[in-house]
């Protein structure tokens, strides 16, 4: 069959790159219209291409597509080609990235219309799309790493988009540096893998790895180490403990950026990598446990912080962190498909949340503090409703997307033997907290009496270029979950079935023990428990923030230390500052700069220079310009040659002399 797009898979990432290049190089002079035409057509076309590619993928029977376009690095046995591949996992990622990305592009045209550096913004955004697509389409770790770093770069650029604002540029740097730590681990992981298996191509690597024996808990074999290293990278990118600190600050960037990069796509790259290399992970008990624990811990931890934040975007940021935690929990319990599923749904509703928040901020004229909002529900209806839907989704109310994905993860967690129940409990608790702070956000923002000055800010609904995406995403958040509607819900788990060829069906050991009916009843109970938790969260929020609005303050006063701790995010940044940044600075200043750089390196360089000068001063005398001296040198040369050539004869001569 003809598969035009699959044969030129590179077209999908290439289009955004072209867009980025065009805008970046020529956009400065252009009016916004042309700029966003270019950017949108780039992303739109690549979305279309992606759809076509997926169609062809299905058409040719969902067989793994692996295309080598050209050699990039070839050194000895090592080959890193510009190879792209397409399988079920890629399909989901590509669709999410291009689709959501496209929507957010549309949204941005409205949102950024009043900002300076319009062309710059879209150029960066397209650049990000390019790298993200490289990341998800890559057929080997090296190329994946290119995308990985590239999205890092793009995120850096976009976080620091308002680079005149110090906080923004600092946030950018922070994100970049923290990511480097993770990338370091990632690279080490890659090296280890190459050393062990001699290849970094996914297909070959996994084929080679599969037959290896599993490593049980506490064994630090190749797999464990490699996986942990990779996971470090994932932690960096996906803002897990202890490397999550950059994400909240990343909210300095424009809201669409937060939506696209720091909620929907980039931050999920970590999850994607873990899922992509699930074969390695499943080979190492330890790694799985670590992943699960870290994810779970992060989820709860971030949720607790989210409880008390007042900045609307910060709340969403922490909720993102905690949701990512969920995904890792899913991966940790071996439910990779569940993790990916949550990734997808989360992409929908979190993007929606951010965009809606953006719309709110837009409406409030740049105000981000929820305590200065309230009662907006009348004024900006579309935003309100879409955001409400998203909230319900993330809080996990059926039948919305969040419910299914989160339920899937928790279910998997519960059904795993061993110490996993505790994780389940924490996960449940987190779900409760999630629904609480989300509704807190809703109530503070849209209900109650308005706490802002009518005269300064006149609230207005956003243009349809922004609302359109909201609506679409809202729809997706509603129906997105049904793909994986558990069997008791009438449908059966399409999603897991779809991903089965990638992940295999091997993650449901827990289920195997139970009978069909028992399984159904268990799932039902779990679902009910989850919904109950969500409802409890809602109730608390309702009671606290709508019934008697004074209460929170009192509670805060009564639990001052805890409140402050939470409010200040457990002082993690401060701790890092004290523990790492300050010593680093000190070392850099006193050792690296003053000793190594100035004394040693500069010293060497200058020393060489002075040495050269001195030598010149000495040797210059030979270049007297006086031909007679040169003549003498010629004679010397002749003598030398004579001696060298006739050395034996000369020795004989000496012998004869004696």
């Amino acid at each position: 069959m003809s598969t035009p797009i699959l044969d030129i898979l590179w077209i999908i990432p290439l289009l955004p790159l072209l867009g980025a290049a065009t805008n970046g190089l020529f956009g400065k002079k252009w009016p916004n219209k042309i700029v966003n035409t270019v950017a949108l057509s780039a992303t739109g076309l690549s979305f279309a291409a992606a759809l076509e590619a997926v169609r062809e993928f299905f058409e040719q029977g969902q067989k793994l597509v692996h295309k080598e376009f050209f050699d990039w690095i070839v050194a000895g046995s090592f080959r890193a080609g510009f190879d792209l591949q397409m399988d079920q996992l890629t399909v989901i990622m590509v669709l999410v990235v291009t689709g959501v990305g496209f929507l957010i592009h549309i949204y941005s045209t409205g949102y950024m219309s009043h900002e300076g550096g319009y062309y710059r913004f879209f150029s960066y955004l397209n650049l990000f799309m390019f790298f993200m697509l490289i990341l998800v389409l890559a057929a080997n770790y090296v190329l994946l790493f290119v995308g990985w770093e590239g999205v890092g770069l793009a995120s850096y650029l976009l976080i620091g988009f308002y680079f005149l604002k110090k906080s923004a540029s600092d946030a950018g740097k922070k994100a970049f540096i923290v990511n480097r730590i993770g990338d370091f681990g990632f690279m080490l992981g890659m090296f280890l893998l190459f050393k062990t298996f001699g290849t970094l191509d996914f297909t070959e690597l996994f084929a080679k790895a599969a037959p290896w024996s599993h490593e049980s808990w506490g064994v630090f074999g190749t797999f464990t180490v490699a996986c942990l290293l990779l996971f470090t990278g994932a932690c960096g990118k996906s803002a897990q403990l202890p490397l999550y600190v950059w994400l909240p600050d990343a909210m300095e960037g424009p809201t669409p950026v937060s939506a696209l990069i720091h909620a929907a796509t980039m931050v999920t790259a970590g999850v994607y990598v873990v899922a992509r290399s699930h074969i390695l992970f499943t080979h190492s008990e330890t790694a799985l446990i670590v992943v699960g624990t870290v994810g779970c811990a992060t989820a709860f931890f971030a949720a607790t912080i989210g409880l008390v934040q007042t900045d609307i975007k910060k709340v969403l940021a922490y909720s993102t962190v905690s949701q990512l935690g969920y995904m890792f929990l899913g991966c940790g319990v071996g439910a990779f498909s569940a993790g990916i599923f949550h990734l997808m749904t989360h992409a929908f509703f979190k993007a929606l949340l951010f965009l809606a928040a953006g719309s709110v901020i837009h409406a409030m004229g740049g105000e981000q503090n929820m305590l200065h909002m309230g009662g907006l529900s009348k004024k900006i209806k579309v935003t309100y409703w879409t955001m409400l839907i998203a909230t319900l989704a993330i809080a996990g109310f059926p039948p919305l997307a969040g419910f299914f994905s989160k339920d899937a993860i928790l279910g998997e967690a519960f059904q795993r033997e061993g110490g996993w129940h505790s994780l389940y409990v924490v996960g449940l608790l987190t779900a409760l907290l999630t629904s609480f702070y989300m509704f807190r956000l809703i109530f503070l923002t849209f209900h109650g009496k308005q706490r802002y000055d009518e005269h300064h800010v006149h609230v207005h609904e956003s243009p349809w270029s922004m609302l359109g995406p909201l609506v679409i995403l809202a729809l997706l958040s509603i129906i997105g979950g049904w793909l994986a509607a558990p069997s008791f819900w009438g449908g059966e788990d399409h999603f897991t079935a779809f991903l089965a060829p990638v992940f295999g069906a091997g993650h449901a050991e827990g289920e195997a023990a139970l009978s069909e009916a028992a399984a159904h009843s268990l799932e039902l109970t779990l679902a009910i428990v989850a919904v109950a938790a969500a409802a409890l969260g809602w109730a608390t929020a309702f009671w606290l923030y709508l019934r008697q609005p004074g209460k929170p303050a009192e509670i805060a006063k009564s639990l001052k230390p805890i409140y402050n701790t939470l409010y200040n995010k457990y002082y993690v940044d401060e701790a890092y500052g004290a523990a790492i940044v300050k010593p680093l600075l000190a070392i850099s200043t006193n050792v690296l700069w003053k000793v190594v750089d100035v004394a040693m390196i500069d010293g060497t360089v200058n020393g060489i220079a002075t040495g050269a000068t001195a030598t010149g001063h000495v040797t210059r005398r030979t270049q007297s310009g006086n031909t007679r001296s040169y003549a003498v040198w010629v004679v010397v040369g002749a003598l030398t040659i004579l001696i060298i050539v006739f050395w034996p004869a000369i020795r004989a001569l000496a012998g004869g002399a004696q």
């Binding site: 007297s624 006086n626 007679r628 001296s629 003498v632 040198w633 004679v635 003598l639 004869a649 001569l653």
Partner: protein, 167 residues
């Protein structure tokens, strides 16, 4: 005493004396004359070795053309006695000893090398001139043509150098 050897000693002695006086004389003309003496003596030695043609060419070209050219230039520039400046300390102190060392080592080597050099089987190469001509136009024809080209270039160069540029 073998007359050939006698002639050799006389000519060789004259040649060395000429070379010495080339160094010794302070006026370029005298140096030139000494050099001419050396050349004529060498021509004589060539004759002694039976290289008549080379001997004559030596006199005609070296004696008759090159040295005359030197003479001409000296007279043209009206060069006086050379001034004994010693700006080059190196040449002043190291120059002479080194050059003498070179001379000595060369001579010593030549003296030691006699074993490896066969003594001449015949004093004359019969029909040397004929052989030379045939060789020049057979084996060495390309170098020969090349030298003619070289001479042409030299002539041009000399013209270009010597002519005063027209104002």
């Amino acid at each position: 005493m073998n007359p050939a050897l006698l002639i050799f000693w006389v000519l060789a002695g004259l040649a060395v004396l000429g070379a010495l006086s080339l160094v010794w004389q302070r006026h370029p003309i005298h140096s030139a004359l000494s050099l001419i003496v050396v050349m004529v003596c060498l021509a004589g030695l060539y004759l002694l070795m039976g290289a008549e043609f080379v001997a004559m060419v030596q006199i005609i070209v070296y004696g008759g053309a090159i040295m005359v050219l030197f003479l001409f230039v000296i007279m043209l520039l009206n060069a006086g006695e050379e001034e004994h400046t010693d700006f080059s300390k190196l040449a002043k102190f190291a120059g002479l000893p080194l050059a003498l060392a070179l001379t000595a080592s060369l001579a010593a080597l030549a003296y030691k090398q006699d074993a490896s050099v066969p003594t001449p089987t015949q004093a004359f190469i019969p029909g040397a001139t004929r052989q030379i001509s045939s060789m020049l136009f057979k084996e060495f024809v390309y170098p020969f043509e090349l030298t003619s080209f070289l001479i042409l270039v030299a002539i041009m160069g000399a013209l270009v150098l010597a002519q005063r540029e027209k104002k």
